[in-house]
Symmetry: C2
Subunit: 196 residues, 2 copies
């Protein structure tokens, strides 16, 4: 999950760890708390020793006036871009849980339509299963549950209903070749998928 997100952000532009965390916090903010440094920096090292990212050469056009010795700017390599596409397109079961789905969705603009549909439909299946479970509990065991447990199940069921509707809209939009946005009057152009 972190690998995918880091490669995705470095795909857009080279950055050092601290900045990466800020971008990560914004990008993943809808479904996850901020990533800790204790997780980020070891991951960067692992990606680097795997050849997926490298330290940016200091022979840049404009060397900074102050030496900035502490900062290490990373950029993605060709292998990193390949790996990114692999991770993005591969949809195992963990792709459909909350953080997994969120990260994939956040990088949908780099995916092809078939992959997007596969992931949206997998997510819908997953949420529908959860919804079924909640419905069963509410239908079969409602008398045995206390008021709070009941309220929690109702709220969960509600959230499932909303998400299924949201996914249905997104799936319909994908199938008609559109891009997400408010209503059908959106004019924001969609980034085309990268062509390596």
């Amino acid at each position: 999950m972190l690998d995918l997100a880091i490669l995705g952000l470095l795909h857009e532009s080279a950055m050092h760890g601290y900045e990466l965390r800020k971008q990560l916090t914004a990008k993943l903010g809808a479904f996850r708390a901020a990533i800790s440094y204790g997780s980020l920096y070891p991951t960067l090292r692992r990606l680097q020793s795997g050849g997926l990212i490298t330290e940016e050469s200091s022979t840049t056009a404009v060397p900074p006036l102050t030496s900035r010795r502490g900062r290490v700017v990373y950029k993605i390599t060709a292998e990193g871009k390949e790996r990114f596409q692999e991770l993005l397109a591969h949809a195992g079961p963990e792709t459909f849980d909350d953080p997994g789905f969120g990260v994939h969705f956040a990088f949908f603009s780099r995916t092809d339509q078939a992959t997007r549909l596969r992931i949206l439909e997998g997510r819908r299946r997953r949420i529908e299963e959860r919804r079924e479970g909640l419905r069963n509990t509410l239908a079969r065991a409602a008398e045995r549950l206390d008021a709070y447990t009941l309220e929690l199940q109702r709220h969960g069921l509600d959230a499932c209903d909303r998400e299924v509707r949201w996914l249905d809209e997104l799936i319909a939009t994908e199938r008609s070749g559109g891009q997400p946005g408010r209503g059908t009057t959106t004019s924001t152009p969609l980034d085309p998928p990268e062509r390596p």
Copy 2:
């Protein structure tokens, strides 16, 4: 999280592991996937060696006809009940994230009103922080984000709005001494908190 949930369920009735998992799946279904056995059984052992639960004595009133040798029925001990109350009342930061809040909420009927309010308000603060983050991202960086990332943030913001409203209602109900349910016409009596 698992400790709390297991103690809470065994507080209601003695059970063996397999059954416990089923109950857990129903009780936590609104915010979590099923617990794996690889997590459940080691936890039961740990709780047992900590003296919080014990194997139920086989000298029960009605010994089953078939010997059922494989099954181990656990029940909660007095220390276990104490620990359960401690875990329920203690509200650290992890109490306000998704699974933490969910478990606490699921056992609200065993908590006093002050604790319930503390936890509901902590959760609201947490969600409001997330909402702020999303609002900032949408306000400051919307042009730089692709259509999918944008849609994800909007959906997340929406979910935050809903949850804050839900929490506000629950908090208001708590303060007026009521019990949760649909509208103000609810007549379901609330389990009184246990008095050890």
